[in-house]
């Protein structure tokens, strides 16, 4: 068995989700190869070669792959993937965008967002927003799988010394082009990789009040997230949303502030190690999953918490 892992990378660095995906590949067993597709990604390939447990790194360095356009990247992955027993990608927005296109090109069904490996062909994945867990078996010649990062502890980013090999094939389907992007700039840790996450909900009342959470987060070295209600109300941008259709997080400590705890929000954070809920409504469903609940006015509790930590 040889497994191909599609590397997630940004700004010339390997993204943390890649390390969780390599961890899932290691659980399946067999040789692990990593594909780095992009433009000017020599540095990323070198970094990927150092990931613990990786045997070989394939590099497809071409302008056609610059913005991970699925019309161009999927044919490359499908062509390379035929030689592998499994093709894995992190369940990031890129992985979710590209991999089903790869699966269809290979004429196989995909298994999305696995949270555990039962055997080389059997995996567990959440359905119904995490309210049920399905065990799914694949008899596909090439098993195409996306990996939920929170299900697997990251492997070490250093310690390996894999061979790096250029793969020539360039696919430019000519069907799509990159126009632009607006990326959120933040000095805080990335939501999905942070050890502590502070999230705000509708109870924050407006976007300006999120300053209380930013200030608490900076003292704790935490990332800041939000519920769908807060994003829909326009308090904060979409990339901060934690939930079934937003980001899935499982930090050491999750502090939910002014969040009622809708099912779809719980789906995104209930695997956190310790959950703290601060809400003035003591009937809020968030308290049913919280390890520590504080019934209080968040505008008094949050500044006090910031002072005491």
């Amino acid at each position: 068995m040889t497994i191909l892992v599609i590397a997630e990378h940004e700004n010339g660095a390997v993204a943390p989700a890649t390390l969780n995906t390599v961890a899932a590949a290691a659980k399946i067993g067999g040789d692990i190869h990593v594909l780095v597709a992009g433009q000017n990604v020599g540095g990323v390939a070198e970094a990927a070669a150092k990931i613990a447990g990786v045997a070989k790194v394939l590099v497809a360095d071409n302008a056609a792959y610059a913005h991970q356009l699925p019309e161009n990247v999927a044919p490359l992955v499908a062509e390379l993937g035929k030689a592998y027993s499994h093709v894995l990608a992190p369940a990031t927005s890129n992985g979710k965008n590209i991999l089903p296109r790869v699966a269809a090109l290979l004429d196989v069904d995909q298994i999305s967002e696995i949270i555990s490996v039962e055997s080389a062909d059997t995996f567990k994945r959440p359905i119904y927003a995490g309210n049920a867990i399905a065990t799914v078996q694949s008899n596909a010649a090439v098993k195409v799988i996306t990996v939920r990062s929170t299900g697997f502890d990251a492997v070490a980013a250093e310690g390996g010394s894999a061979a790096v090999e250029a793969v020539g094939a360039a696919h430019d389907a000519g069907k799509s082009s990159f126009v632009g992007e607006e990326l959120a700039k933040s000095d805080r840790p990335e939501l999905t990789a942070a050890k502590i996450v502070v999230s705000g909900g509708r109870g924050m009342q407006n976007g300006d009040n999120f300053k209380h959470l930013y200030s608490l987060a900076d003292k704790l070295g935490a990332a800041v997230g939000a519920s769908r209600a807060a994003v829909d109300a326009g308090f904060v941008p979409n990339d901060m949303q934690v939930g079934q259709t937003g980001k899935i997080v499982a930090p050491q400590l999750y502090i939910a502030v002014g969040i009622s705890g809708a099912i779809q929000h719980l789906a995104g954070m209930k695997d956190s190690k310790v959950i703290v809920a601060i809400n003035k409504d003591e009937e809020a469903p968030i308290f049913q999953v919280a390890d520590y609940g504080l019934v209080a006015d968040l505008f008094e509790a949050v500044p006090e918490l910031e002072k005491l930590v």
């Binding site: 979710k96 999305s112 119904y128 065990t135 990159f178 979409n238 079934q244 520590y292 509790a301």
Partner: protein
Amino acid sequence: MKVLVAVKRVVDYNVKVRVKADNSGVDLANVKMSMNPFCEIAVEEAVRLKEKGVATEIVVVTIGPATAQEQLRTALALGADRAVLVECADELNSLAVAKLLKAVVDKEQPQLVILGKQAIDSDNNQTGQMLAALTGFGQGTFASKVEVAGDKVNVTREIDGGLQTVALNLPAIVTTDLRLNEPRYASLPNIMKAKKKPLETVTPDALGVSTASTNKTLKVEAPAARSAGIKVKSVAELVEKLKNEAKVI
């Protein structure tokens, strides 16, 4: 231009689902069924394109049991012009659904196909991308803005780091994210009118599509329950617990 919208009948998002005692799946007996919320957004986007004069005809398609006609009628009441039911009693996997949709695309020749980004039952997030692969069309997934301009469509996508805009040649596939639009409610006169709109039923066999899958669900279980912890009385007590009991700060 013709727009094809694919919708799915799913358990209503307000229902708290229960796993069956024999672990064969989720109990769907006497449970309220609705159109998948992301599919409602897809229908709404098509209707808005028609209101702007960009779309000329909206065809709505679903793949599911005979009862999925309810969701097609809902889409017709919201503004779709006609409906196609690919009737299929079994729950199909995404690739089979994409192959059936490809057969409908071949027949209907739409310039734009709009789907929800994922169904809230299987949570797969695959069908639109797979349909794009099978048709060879460009794909704009997780869309928060769709603008048709000449022979192209500009799609702004919700990605992990923020927003990305891509330009796709038409015909193209778009999958909807939550903030693309706010779906309207169907008015009573439109619900009445929808009953008279054409609804065609076909079978997978008639479309010449095999619905076999490489995936098999072995069992479905309830997730490990997380029990409620304790209520603390003050911020000071909370900080003390986090430092000394949970040891996370």
